[in-house]
């Protein structure tokens, strides 16, 4: 499978879909881990374990999708983890006090979009570096969440709301269905809309993009809004799954999202990236967590293994791209 992709890669005519090449860096460890683990532990390849891995990966996948769009423009969104907590608290509060699930989700998504828009406007119009702006909103959102909750968790009793995080539809967990839909929409935006192409253009060469008539500011702003909305969806799934909203939730989750994106072949320098890769990247990280427990590996090694997998995948990916570039030249 990997090889046929590589071949396609070299025939520019067929490079229509954007997931055509960057995702190999996540696909290789994914396949290797799947094969190795299915031999190593009899429980690994059971339906229930696979579904449980996917359910655990869901929040990271959705956040990673948002992060990928931001990374494609050469930016970063550090506010994701805090925003997750804020959205979770807002929707938990609304669903508990009004009982309306629709209202809770709507409010959550509006909060996510608003914070995303704030990030986007400041980054694109005031020329504040994304790292600094989203670092500020990271603190602002976390602080706001603590002010709202006064540090005590909000328990969710509404069982239909909890279904979003814990239920299934036709045997597939709802969070998994949600992340698949989010990925499909993300792929659609990236491959079939002008926005997708503009985002990549802005990321690879902002000046060239501006000179060719692309509204660089507006397109840069969009990615932060997309990120905010994705985080909002992830936040709703997160609190629905746990049945409680904590002010301290989601700390350092933005780094998990960066890891998933980078593992999936999205370049932190911008201009390149994919959706399928991010999905697989997040699943790889979830599989490592699962394997640590299944194989009874000492926990002290978990972060080292994750770090090593990301590093190797990225090195291999960069090498592969360099070789491909040489051949084209």
């Amino acid at each position: 499978m990997a090889q046929s992709k590589e071949n396609k890669d070299l025939t520019p005519k067929r490079r229509k879909f954007h997931f055509d090449y960057p995702w190999i860096s996540a696909a290789v460890p994914l396949v290797v881990l799947m094969v190795a683990l299915s031999f190593a532990h009899p429980m690994f390849l059971t339906t229930s374990n696979i579904l449980s891995i996917l359910r655990q990966a869901a929040v990271y996948v959705i956040m990673g999708l948002g992060m990928s769009f931001v990374l494609m423009t050469g930016g970063i969104d550090l506010s994701q983890g805090s925003l997750l907590a804020l959205v979770g608290v807002v929707s938990a509060y609304i669903v508990e006090n009004s009982g309306s699930i629709f209202l809770a989700i709507l409010a959550g998504i509006l909060v996510g979009a608003a914070i995303g828009a704030a990030n986007g406007v400041v980054v694109s119009c005031l020329k504040i570096p994304p790292f600094i702006m989203t670092l500020s909103t990271m603190y602002l959102c976390r602080g706001l969440t603590l002010v709202i909750t006064q540090a005590s968790p909000i328990a969710i009793t509404n069982s239909s709301f909890k279904w979003i995080g814990g239920g299934d539809l036709l045997g597939i967990p709802v969070p998994v269905i949600i992340f698949i839909i989010a990925a499909v929409i993300g792929q659609f935006i990236l491959s079939y809309t002008a926005t997708g192409r503009y985002i990549l253009a802005v990321g690879s060469n902002r000046e060239a993009a501006r000179l060719s008539g692309i509204k660089t500011r507006w397109n840069e702003c969009k990615v932060y809004i997309i990120s905010g909305i994705m985080v909002a969806i992830a936040g709703v799934v997160y609190v629905a799954r746990l049945g409680a909203a904590q002010a301290t939730a989601g700390q350092s989750y933005e780094m998990e999202a960066v890891a998933a994106s980078v593992l999936g072949g999205t370049s932190v320098l911008g201009g390149e990236g994919g959706i399928i890769g991010t999905v697989m990247g997040a699943i790889v990280v979830a599989i490592i967590r699962n394997a640590i427990v299944l194989l009874d590996v000492s926990t002290y090694y978990q972060q080292m293994i994750t770090g090593a997998v990301i590093l190797i995948a990225v090195i291999v990916d960069v090498q592969r791209k360099a070789r491909a570039a040489k051949k084209v030249n």
């Binding site: 429980m43 540090a151 799954r241 746990l242 427990v293």
Partner: protein, 329 residues
């Protein structure tokens, strides 16, 4: 022009900050004047430095300390609590800075829950030089400086209690999820638990100790992996209630009969026991710690009575007595 706007905005921010900080800045400035005795009597200012205020456990400490201060105040002396804390429990450096600034401002006594047990020693030495008595609550500082007293849970004994309860009530496999790796409180809770299980042939400890870093979502993921890895698992011991609630959600989703034991005895944990989530928890008493701490400092400052180390009691909370633990003690 732009610069002026920026300057104005910064000024506005500073004003806003001082407005927010009104409560905390007011207190120390109050005590500076009453340092010289006036007609209304003396004010004794006690600084409370919990690990963070984003955890309800420490918020309870603050409330109980304030209540104790109010009840100790009389015509002759007014006892006042000033309190600040880092945003999260690992804010070692921030906490030391706060500690130092309280010493600069001049307080009569300090109650601290050290974020870093080794790092705090030097600052306690500074307090010793200024003859400001320091009492450690909940977590003791390392050797090297003069701590007037330690008042807190014996985490080892608490873990031991949970271990004994497990040995009496569980037959089969048991797994442990801890807070943060390398945190002494959690290590003691693990060691106590393991020693409490000793000699019980009906219980088998499986897997390595997994860290959830106090994150409910992470704890839930680990619990799901444990449930897959060990189909005969009968019990999960989590060294915090926040984590235990996540594990309980995972257990409930599978519908298996796996008992979940927490640690803290938080109101949310007690509620979870009543709702059939968690099975039991080890109750700590942050309120008693704070009360006793304030009283001990008061005695030291007014009467010169030496304070003594004190272990606040731990108790097992189960469905039978969970109703009594819906508030912190």
């Amino acid at each position: 022009m732009k610069r002026w706007i920026a300057l104005l905005l910064t000024l506005a921010m500073c004003f806003a900050l001082t407005a927010c900080g009104g409560k905390t800045t007011e207190a120390p400035s109050n005590d500076e004047q009453p340092a010289q005795t006036d007609a209304a009597g003396k004010t004794i200012t006690i600084a409370l430095l919990p690990k963070t205020l984003s955890n309800p456990y420490f918020v309870a400490m603050q409330k109980f300390a304030e209540a104790a201060a109010a009840s100790l105040s009389n015509d002759e002396y007014t006892v006042e609590i000033v309190c600040s804390a880092p945003p999260s429990e690992d804010g070692v450096n921030e906490q030391i800075t706060m500690f130092e600034s309280y010493l600069e401002k001049g307080v009569d006594g300090v109650l601290i829950v050290p974020c870093g047990t080794a790092e705090v020693v030097d600052t306690i030495k500074k307090a010793n030089e200024k003859n400001v008595p320091v009492i450690c609550l909940d977590t003791n500082a390392d050797e090297g400086a003069e701590v007037a007293a330690f008042i807190g849970t014996n985490n080892y004994d608490g873990g031991f209690l949970a271990g004994q309860w497990t040995a009496e009530n569980i037959d089969g496999q048991v797994a442990i999820i801890t807070g943060t790796l390398g945190n002494q409180c959690h290590t003691d809770r693990n060691n106590g638990y393991i020693d409490g299980l000793e000699g019980a042939s009906n219980v088998e400890l499986v897997g390595d100790i997994q860290p959830c870093n106090g994150d409910q979502g992470t704890a839930m993921g680990i619990a799901e992996n444990l449930l897959t890895a060990y189909p005969d698992l009968k019990c999960i011991y989590v060294t915090s209630d926040t984590g235990a609630m996540g594990a309980a959600t995972a257990v409930q989703a599978t519908g298996r009969d796996v008992k979940v034991i927490g640690f803290d005895g938080s109101p949310a944990g007690a509620q979870s026991i009543i709702d059939g989530g968690m099975t039991a928890t080890v109750a700590q008493t942050p309120g008693v710690m704070a009360e006793e701490g304030v009283k001990a400092l008061y005695e030291m400052i007014i009467n010169g009575t030496a304070a003594e180390d004190m272990y606040t009691p731990c108790s097992m909370v189960t469905a039978e007595n969970a109703n009594d633990y819906l508030d912190w003690h």
